[in-house]
Symmetry: C2
Subunit: 80 residues, 2 copies
Amino acid sequence: MKAKIHVTLKNGVLDPQGKAIEHALGNMGFGGVDAARQGKYIELDLQETNETAAMASVKDMCEKLIANTVIENYSIELEA
Amino acid sequence: MKAKIHVTLKNGVLDPQGKAIEHALGNMGFGGVDAARQGKYIELDLQETNETAAMASVKDMCEKLIANTVIENYSIELEA
Protein backbone atom coordinates (compact mmCIF):
# COMPACT_ATOMS: atom_id res chain seq x y z
CA MET A 1 0.00 0.00 0.00
CA LYS A 2 1.23 3.46 -0.89
CA ALA A 3 0.67 6.60 1.19
CA LYS A 4 0.83 10.05 -0.37
CA ILE A 5 1.26 12.80 2.18
CA HIS A 6 0.99 16.54 1.60
CA VAL A 7 2.42 18.82 4.26
CA THR A 8 1.50 22.49 3.87
CA LEU A 9 2.05 25.54 6.05
CA LYS A 10 -0.96 26.73 8.01
CA ASN A 11 -2.59 29.98 7.00
CA GLY A 12 -0.81 32.98 8.43
CA VAL A 13 2.56 31.22 8.73
CA LEU A 14 5.30 32.99 6.77
CA ASP A 15 6.23 31.02 3.63
CA PRO A 16 9.61 32.34 2.41
CA GLN A 17 9.99 29.58 -0.22
CA GLY A 18 6.61 30.42 -1.69
CA LYS A 19 7.42 34.13 -1.70
CA ALA A 20 10.75 33.42 -3.41
CA ILE A 21 8.98 31.48 -6.18
CA GLU A 22 6.38 34.25 -6.54
CA HIS A 23 9.03 36.98 -6.88
CA ALA A 24 11.26 34.92 -9.16
CA LEU A 25 8.34 34.19 -11.50
CA GLY A 26 7.51 37.91 -11.56
CA ASN A 27 11.13 38.83 -12.31
CA MET A 28 11.23 36.26 -15.12
CA GLY A 29 8.26 37.89 -16.81
CA PHE A 30 5.55 35.45 -15.78
CA GLY A 31 2.71 37.81 -14.87
CA GLY A 32 -0.63 36.79 -13.47
CA VAL A 33 0.62 34.80 -10.49
CA ASP A 34 -1.22 36.13 -7.45
CA ALA A 35 0.34 33.81 -4.90
CA ALA A 36 2.65 30.82 -4.57
CA ARG A 37 2.89 28.45 -1.65
CA GLN A 38 5.39 25.65 -1.19
CA GLY A 39 4.82 22.53 0.81
CA LYS A 40 6.25 19.04 1.00
CA TYR A 41 5.12 15.89 -0.72
CA ILE A 42 6.08 12.54 0.75
CA GLU A 43 5.42 9.05 -0.60
CA LEU A 44 5.70 6.00 1.63
CA ASP A 45 5.62 2.35 0.54
CA LEU A 46 3.89 0.41 3.31
CA GLN A 47 3.77 -3.32 3.94
CA GLU A 48 0.39 -2.90 5.67
CA THR A 49 -2.52 -3.95 3.45
CA ASN A 50 -5.44 -2.99 5.71
CA GLU A 51 -6.56 0.54 4.87
CA THR A 52 -7.81 1.46 8.36
CA ALA A 53 -4.62 0.24 10.03
CA ALA A 54 -2.44 1.95 7.40
CA MET A 55 -4.28 5.27 7.85
CA ALA A 56 -3.90 5.11 11.65
CA SER A 57 -0.21 4.30 11.35
CA VAL A 58 0.55 7.03 8.79
CA LYS A 59 -1.41 9.58 10.85
CA ASP A 60 0.77 8.69 13.83
CA MET A 61 3.93 9.09 11.69
CA CYS A 62 2.74 12.52 10.55
CA GLU A 63 1.97 13.70 14.09
CA LYS A 64 5.26 12.46 15.50
CA LEU A 65 7.78 13.03 12.71
CA ILE A 66 6.67 14.16 9.29
CA ALA A 67 4.66 17.30 10.04
CA ASN A 68 5.26 20.03 12.60
CA THR A 69 1.63 20.37 13.62
CA VAL A 70 2.25 23.72 15.30
CA ILE A 71 2.74 25.39 11.94
CA GLU A 72 1.85 22.73 9.35
CA ASN A 73 -1.22 20.86 8.14
CA TYR A 74 -1.02 17.44 6.58
CA SER A 75 -3.29 15.34 4.41
CA ILE A 76 -2.98 11.63 3.66
CA GLU A 77 -4.15 9.66 0.62
CA LEU A 78 -3.83 5.89 0.48
CA GLU A 79 -3.46 3.90 -2.71
CA ALA A 80 -3.65 0.11 -2.96
CA MET B 1 -7.47 29.30 -11.44
CA LYS B 2 -5.27 27.26 -9.13
CA ALA B 3 -2.31 25.12 -10.21
CA LYS B 4 -1.06 22.26 -8.05
CA ILE B 5 2.43 21.15 -8.95
CA HIS B 6 4.26 18.07 -7.72
CA VAL B 7 8.00 17.95 -8.20
CA THR B 8 9.60 14.56 -7.55
CA LEU B 9 13.10 13.21 -8.02
CA LYS B 10 13.61 10.97 -11.04
CA ASN B 11 14.21 7.29 -10.44
CA GLY B 12 17.81 6.55 -9.62
CA VAL B 13 18.53 10.02 -8.22
CA LEU B 14 19.73 9.91 -4.61
CA ASP B 15 17.02 11.12 -2.22
CA PRO B 16 18.69 11.92 1.14
CA GLN B 17 15.54 13.51 2.59
CA GLY B 18 13.51 10.41 1.80
CA LYS B 19 16.20 8.17 3.29
CA ALA B 20 16.30 10.32 6.43
CA ILE B 21 12.53 9.93 6.88
CA GLU B 22 12.79 6.18 6.25
CA HIS B 23 15.52 5.71 8.85
CA ALA B 24 13.90 8.02 11.40
CA LEU B 25 10.60 6.13 11.13
CA GLY B 26 12.47 2.85 11.63
CA ASN B 27 14.31 4.23 14.67
CA MET B 28 11.03 5.45 16.14
CA GLY B 29 9.56 1.97 15.97
CA PHE B 30 7.39 2.37 12.87
CA GLY B 31 8.05 -0.89 11.06
CA GLY B 32 6.68 -1.85 7.69
CA VAL B 33 7.88 1.17 5.74
CA ASP B 34 9.73 -0.17 2.70
CA ALA B 35 10.61 3.18 1.18
CA ALA B 36 10.08 6.90 1.59
CA ARG B 37 10.53 9.57 -1.05
CA GLN B 38 10.29 13.31 -0.56
CA GLY B 39 9.31 15.80 -3.20
CA LYS B 40 7.97 19.32 -3.36
CA TYR B 41 4.40 20.51 -3.61
CA ILE B 42 3.69 23.97 -4.97
CA GLU B 43 0.39 25.79 -5.29
CA LEU B 44 0.01 28.80 -7.57
CA ASP B 45 -2.96 31.17 -7.75
CA LEU B 46 -3.27 32.24 -11.37
CA GLN B 47 -5.25 35.10 -12.90
CA GLU B 48 -5.55 33.15 -16.16
CA THR B 49 -8.99 31.55 -16.59
CA ASN B 50 -8.39 29.62 -19.83
CA GLU B 51 -7.26 26.10 -18.99
CA THR B 52 -5.12 25.54 -22.11
CA ALA B 53 -3.32 28.86 -21.68
CA ALA B 54 -2.82 28.25 -17.94
CA MET B 55 -1.39 24.79 -18.55
CA ALA B 56 1.06 26.12 -21.17
CA SER B 57 2.13 28.93 -18.87
CA VAL B 58 2.60 26.71 -15.78
CA LYS B 59 4.52 24.15 -17.86
CA ASP B 60 6.86 26.92 -18.95
CA MET B 61 7.31 28.03 -15.29
CA CYS B 62 8.16 24.44 -14.30
CA GLU B 63 10.70 24.02 -17.09
CA LYS B 64 12.39 27.35 -16.41
CA LEU B 65 12.24 27.77 -12.64
CA ILE B 66 10.26 25.35 -10.50
CA ALA B 67 11.73 21.98 -11.49
CA ASN B 68 15.29 20.99 -12.30
CA THR B 69 14.39 18.75 -15.23
CA VAL B 70 17.81 17.10 -15.23
CA ILE B 71 16.98 15.28 -12.00
CA GLU B 72 13.32 16.03 -11.33
CA ASN B 73 9.92 15.19 -12.81
CA TYR B 74 6.92 17.45 -12.42
CA SER B 75 3.19 17.03 -12.78
CA ILE B 76 0.58 19.77 -12.99
CA GLU B 77 -3.09 19.73 -11.99
CA LEU B 78 -5.36 22.67 -12.65
CA GLU B 79 -8.39 23.56 -10.59
CA ALA B 80 -10.98 26.17 -11.50
